[in-house]
């Protein structure tokens, strides 16, 4: 059973190999079809896996879904410790399989239209396949080390795809920035892994649920957390916090978020797949994966997650209100929403450390739920933005306005997704966000109110974006010159599909019966008070946005901007975070640390080796006279040598 799950990893890998090695031999159409077909197969397999896992196998005797390990092979043995590679199926990984394969499949179809006639079409599909393979490998990892390996692979494929338009300076700079910033964070992740592995004697996730190994699978090395606790009380919290920093880098948490807005230089479908739905939630997934450890050994440290999340959510929402590039707005909204998930994971009730409890750790379910719904509607928003960019050939909101007449399908799907992210019932975002806010209120009223406020900001900036694109001031001059038109069916079909999921998955399925902290069935029940409050606040923000931005002229917005020019400028410039980084790296690190090290390397280290080379050369030059080429001279020396040997033997 589940032996076919290995195909979920192998199919995209094969399509990457075929397209990567022989891509130029295929036409665009064939290359796209190869990628899309293999992804379609992966999508079907993932759905089938989820069906079998949740319904055919079902709950075990204890009432929880057991973690299944259909594959686990020893990849690198090191004495008793070994690095394994395998497939681990448990509720969250199966849920992630669905998310990744759905969004990736949709993006593959969408790219047919969006990337039509683009140079490097085959390369694009090869990279997409590579990314999908790595991301799927990350979520089904059986141990932290495998996770880390695929973690780096998604980083590489993200780098390759951001820099897809490698002739543009901005794209190159953005890809380098993304890679370096996430790499910097991954360094902490690696240190965390090493501390964890060294003190617990294992890298495996043997602490998740009850494991059921398939025949022939290598047994997990048990995690000896007691040993780590005995070695030092702060070791496990430190290791987990370091790993969280790695996750924060990937998930663009403040202050490591600076790469994500720039990553929008890549093609829009890539932004939808990698920088909205899948890769950026890897950090959330990592925290969720290690959740039992956090609860058991580092419950105090979880407040770090909460506060990093709250600050990020607020910061990103504030910046998103002032951006004019539609993809930037979506990027900051993504940062803000991921921060919501992080907060949700962090808000575990104190005093419930010993056991995983559905009520005390409601945030776990809420965060995963929001991850699922957010992936769908944010991918839809990004793909919609792609249609708009495709139509008007610009990212700037000033080029848009009044597009609803030209692009009805995009308009409606975008509107539904905006309603979902704002938290309006009955769209999916309402249910997940509501659970998060309920969990926050349980944790502390302060966090609860702050998150409610940020949710209101979300509704406001999303509708500012919506009105800016589809209503508002129409750029008649540009539209007369080039009338915007609806995108081809390959691009609208994914939009419709994702919208359908967004509309139905909130009330259609009870997410809590699939994923929950303890694994037991958790019927999602709305807290009426909180649900009504947040809905009212969201509607008020939407009305406010409508009042300010819907009209042909926007006197209120202009007045606000001129009333607080400093604030607007600060938010527009993202509170100068990039400049702060620029200052720290260039003025402090480069000038005072890197330069002396470079000098030392160039003059002391290199100097020593240059001296060795020079000395050898000189010596060789001095003694090369012996090699005269005169045979009799050689013979004479030889003869003298023989005489000397004879003398020694005689004496």
């Amino acid at each position: 059973m589940f032996t076919y799950t290995i195909l979920i990893l192998l199919l995209p890998f094969l399509s990457f190999l075929v397209l990567g090695l022989f891509g130029n031999k295929f036409s665009h159409r064939v290359a796209g079809l190869i990628g899309t077909t293999s992804l379609g197969a992966v999508f079907l397999l993932s759905c089938y896996t989820a069906y079998e896992y949740f319904f055919a196998v079902g709950r075990g005797a204890a009432g929880v879904y057991e973690a299944l390990v259909p594959y686990n092979i020893t990849w690198l043995p090191l004495g008793t410790l070994h690095f394994d590679m395998g497939v681990l199926l448990d509720p969250i990984s199966v849920m992630m399989l669905i998310v990744i394969s759905t969004v990736s499949f949709m993006v593959h179809i969408y790219s047919f239209g969006y990337m039509h006639g683009e140079r490097g079409f085959q390369r694009y599909y090869a990279f997409l396949s590579l990314f999908t393979m790595s991301m799927l490998g990350l979520v089904v990892a059986t141990n932290i080390f495998q996770m880390y390996l695929f973690w780096e692979l998604v980083g590489v494929s993200s780098y390759l795809l951001i820099g897809f338009y490698y002739t543009q300076k901005a794209a190159i700079a953005a890809s380098k920035k993304a890679f370096i910033v996430t790499r910097f964070a991954d360094m902490f992740f690696l240190v965390g892994i090493l501390i964890f592995g060294y003190y617990t004697g294992s890298f495996s996730f043997s602490f998740v649920n009850e494991l059921k190994l398939a025949e022939g699978a290598t047994a997990f090395v048990p995690v000896d957390a007691a040993r780590a606790v005995a070695a030092g009380g702060l070791l496990l919290p430190t290791a987990l916090t370091l790993m969280f920093i790695g996750g924060a880098g990937k998930s663009a948490m403040f202050p490591l978020h600076i790469w994500l807005p720039d990553a929008m230089e890549g093609p829009t479908p890539v932004s939808a797949l990698i920088h909205a739905a899948t890769m950026v939630v890897a950090g959330v997934y990592q925290v969720a994966r290690l959740f039992p450890l956090w609860i058991a050994y580092a419950p105090q440290a979880m407040s770090i997650i909460v506060w990093v999340g709250v600050i990020t959510a607020f910061y990103a929402a504030a910046v998103a209100m002032a951006q004019s590039d539609i993809k930037r707005v979506l990027a900051f909204s993504t940062i803000s929403q991921i921060a919501f998930m992080m907060v949700a994971l962090g808000v575990s009730l104190p005093g419930h450390e010993a056991v995983l409890d559905n009520h005390a750790q409601l945030g776990y379910m809420a965060g995963m739920f929001h991850l699922f719904t957010h992936a769908m509607f944010k991918a839809c928003l990004f793909l919609g933005a792609g249609c708009i960019i495709h139509a008007v050939h610009s990212n700037e909101m000033s080029e848009m306005g009044g597009l609803r007449k030209y692009m009805p399908v995009t308009h409606w799907t975008f509107l539904f997704s905006c309603l979902a992210i704002s938290g309006i019932p009955p769209f999916s975002g309402f249910f997940s966000k509501d659970e998060i806010i309920t969990a926050c209120f349980q944790y502390s009223p302060l966090v609860g109110w702050v998150m409610t406020g940020i949710a209101a900001m979300t509704a406001f900036y999303m509708f500012r974006l919506y009105y800016g694109i589809f209503w508002g001031t129409e750029n008649k001059e540009a539209h007369a010159h080039h009338t915007p038109h609806e995108a081809p069916w390959t691009m609208t079909l994914p939009l419709i599909f994702l919208t359908l999921i967004t509309v139905t998955c909130g009330w259609g399925v009870n997410f809590g019966s699939f994923v929950s902290a303890s694994g037991l069935d958790y019927p999602i029940h709305l807290d009426t008070q909180i649900a009504i409050t947040s809905t009212v606040i969201a509607i008020v923000s939407i009305c406010l946005a409508t009042y300010i931005y819907k009209g042909e002229r926007q006197p209120v917005a202009d007045k606000l901007q001129s009333a607080m020019p400093r604030l607007h400028q600060w938010a527009y410039k993202r509170f100068y975070m990039d400049e702060v980084y620029q200052f720290i790296t260039h003025r402090i690190i480069f000038a005072h640390i890197s330069k002396p090290i470079a000098w030392f390397d160039r003059h002391i280290i290199d100097g020593f080796f240059n001296f060795l080379a020079w000395g050898t050369h000189e010596l060789g030059f001095q003694i090369r006279g012996f090699q005269s080429g005169a045979i009799q001279k050689y013979a004479y020396v030889f003869f003298l040598g023989v005489l000397a040997l004879l003398l020694i033997m005689i004496l």
Partner: protein
């Protein structure tokens, strides 16, 4: 009766004449002749030791015979090399043969 010592003296003279010739002659042909002289000196030793010390055996004679055969082959090769060198340089004196260095 000729004693072993007399033969060894002759052989030693031949040997050193060969070495001297090898080190001092300029013509490669003369050097080849010197080598022949040294080889013959050793052949003589083989034969003499066999004749005087192990009268019943034949080992020394066979060594001498093998040595003579190898000498013949070696001279053929050496002369072939010299012919080629002559074609290249129009000369066979060792002073001109310094191309092999470095």
């Amino acid at each position: 009766m000729i004693e072993l010592n007399y033969i060894l003296i002759v052989s030693a003279v031949m040997m050193f004449a060969g070495i001297f010739g090898f080190l001092t002659r300029r013509s490669t042909l003369a050097i080849l002749l010197s080598i022949e002289l040294m080889l013959n000196a050793t052949d003589l030793n083989f034969a003499a030791f066999n004749r005087f010390l192990f009268p019943g055996g034949h080992v020394g004679y066979f060594f001498a015979l093998f040595s003579i055969a190898i000498t013949a082959a070696e001279s053929a090769i050496a002369i072939a090399i010299m012919i080629n060198v002559y074609r290249q340089l129009k000369d066979i004196s060792v002073g001109k043969l310094e191309k092999m260095k470095w």
